[in-house]
Amino acid sequence: ANLEVTHWWTSAGEAAAVAEFARVFEEETGHTWVDGALAGSGTGANPVIISRIIGGNPMGATQMNTGRDAEELIQAGLMRDLTDIADEMGIRDFYVDESLLEPCTYEGRIYCFPVNIHSWDWLWLSTAAYEEIGEPVPTNWDEYVASWPALQDAGILPFGLATGWPISGVPGVLMAGIGGSDLVLAINRDKDVEAVRGEDFRRVAEALDALRSVVSPDMMVPAFGDVGNQLLEGTAAGNIHGDWLQGDLQIAGGVPGEDYECLPGLGLNDQLTGGGDSFYFPVLPDGTDPEVIEAQTELARLLISPDAQLAFNLVKGSMPIRTDIDLSSANACMQKAIPLLDNGLLPSGDFSLSSDTQQQLQDLSIEFIDNDNISVDDYIERYASIIESAD
């Protein structure tokens, strides 16, 4: 049967990765993967996905932000309960971190499957840029910051940035890297306002303050894929972006360790913040062809099957959710991350904050980076008040 799958994985690397899912799905089950890619990331795709689900015209499966968003849909009985499939596959045995499943769990039942661990916590560095200024490639954030003046003298952008949402992940990365795991847990999980006002967070804010001095809107490129190109060309020296950037770097012909370097956790922290892209399976309306429901079930199983996991994550550049996969074929960057995973994952903002709060934090950070009139103190205060009212 035909199964429509919506997602917003439209960048080069993402698209290639999702193609792996499709390939495996079609090969192994004989069903057809009807691709419903929606550009514009969450902003463009979310309304369509949500309105289709509540409008009674759901797709067979969809990628969605894991977490609080879907909760109401689950409450409204619009999402398929996957607990049986999960139990049948013994999902808790091989999942890399129980915490990943938490957001998918509602009243003890499982409603979604995270299909990868994606993490924002990466600092990407351009080998070419550092060759140009004749300095070694930094091994952590502080060295990287120290290299900015030299880069600027050489006419190289210290930090490449795309317009729009890519900036939204940066504060979280700085928080995890500079502030450390405790700070992340205190703020995101415990909504501890005092932590925001504390010394650790101030350092994070100051780092962001430093960062905003080297990014300017007229240097921004339209898409994050372009930043990848800048890194490879050496016109930009570094970038904080999620692991999925690697997909684009590879497609553009970049070789990790040679053309670019990567520093998980900014080279400071030994834990990665893990979010996950999850798949949800909406409850299909009465009268749907049983075959489609069957296909839905099979896709759910397949997405977390070892084959599909490996194929997908290798292309996407993210970590699989299974511990029982041989990652020896993973590239150098991924290899760096594997040991960090043993330390467990830090819950990402997606997991612990509502999208409403995330939206507010994103609005704040974007405003802060763009507007030099907002002082670090202001930033901290406003951040605190958002956390204070967060639910």
Binding site: P47, E72, L73, D356, Q359, L364, E367, I369
Partner: protein, 310 residues
């Protein structure tokens, strides 16, 4: 004619009247139902729905509980919303005055018995046929600091040439303005031209005989006579401004930072991305209020005034 039969007729007349009221012109009443349903269900019903849920804490689904004015308190405590409102005000003031002024000036120029009038008009009006998405994309390309006009001019050796408004928080609103004007002034010109052409020829003759210079005639005599067109123009432009969304999304996505955010985008983002319907609807209600403020004076002028005249 006896009294009894007369009153009998009278009665049957009344009875018939009542009956006719419902059965008469039945097709006309049926034909009006789409409009009536649209008005009642969509325009009135949905508006009330919007207002109602703006007082709840609804998240992804409109199921929340009543929280009074909380959403509004938060709305006006949010700097993105406030920036959006200010942007809209600035954009509105500039856009409205520029479209009107430019539209009028162009119309006046076009009114000078020029040759190739229809060619000029075609050129000025064609952007109006394009969507804001297309408009935004084209201007984004042109205003791209590295690849667009600025980059090109600099490559040609004009190093001083700067056209990076799209990347500057303080100027981005003008970038929006340029694209918006590109799309909309032609239409204003056509409106104004129609208004100019609607002015009685004899007024022109009278003013020439009176020796009034052309520009004064345009300004002091013809312009005030175009009140109807002007009001329409203001209302049309005004409603377009309040709704401003596509252009921003296509051209700047609200950036740099939040410097080109607009209320419609705030509504959209909070309703659909942030999953906070209550907040989105509170913002919508504020927009509705704004629209009311624009349109009620107009309706009064149009309909109230008309009533008085006849």
């Amino acid at each position: 004619m006896t009294d009894a039969s007369a009153s009998e007729r009278q009665e049957s007349g009344t009875a018939r009247y009542v009956r006719q009221l419902f059965t008469r012109n039945i097709s006309a009443k049926i034909a009006a139902t789409p409009m009536i349903v649209t008005v009642l269900v969509i325009f009135i019903g949905c508006t009330l729905w919007t207002i109602y849920y703006s007082f709840t804490n609804s998240r992804l689904l409109p199921t929340g509980t009543f929280v009074g004015l909380d959403q509004y308190t938060r709305l006006f405590g949010t700097s993105r919303w406030n920036v959006s409102v200010w942007n809209l005000i600035w954009y509105g003031v500039f856009s409205l005055s520029f479209t009107l002024v430019i539209g009028f000036l162009l119309a006046v120029l076009m009114d000078q018995k020029i040759r190739f009038e229809s060619a000029f008009r075609t050129i000025m009006l064609y952007p109006f046929a394009l969507s804001f998405i297309v408009t935004g994309l084209v201007w984004q390309w042109i205003m791209n600091p590295t690849l667009g006009l600025q980059g090109t001019m600099r490559n040609l050796g004009f190093d001083w040439f700067t056209f990076d408004w799209i990347a500057r928080s303080d100027m981005v609103i003008y970038a929006l303005l340029i694209a918006g004007l590109w799309q909309g002034t032609g239409f204003m010109m056509v409106l104004m031209l129609a208004g100019l052409r609607g002015v009685d020829e004899e007024i022109w003759k009278a003013s020439r005989v009176d020796g009034i210079p052309t520009w004064r005639t345009y300004l002091f005599i013809v312009l005030p006579m175009m009140r109807g067109v002007l009001v329409t123009a203001v209302v049309l432009a005004g409603s377009g401004i309040v709704r401003l969304y596509d252009l921003v999304v296509a051209l700047t996505r609200g950036g740099p930072g939040i410097s080109s955010e607009v209320p419609a985008k705030y509504v959209y983002d909070y309703m659909f991305t942030a999953g906070n319907i209550g907040q989105g609807l509170a913002a919508s209600t504020m927009m509705l209020l704004t629209v009311m403020i624009i349109i009620i004076p107009w309706a009064y002028l149009e309909f109230g005034g008309r009533g008085k005249k006849s």
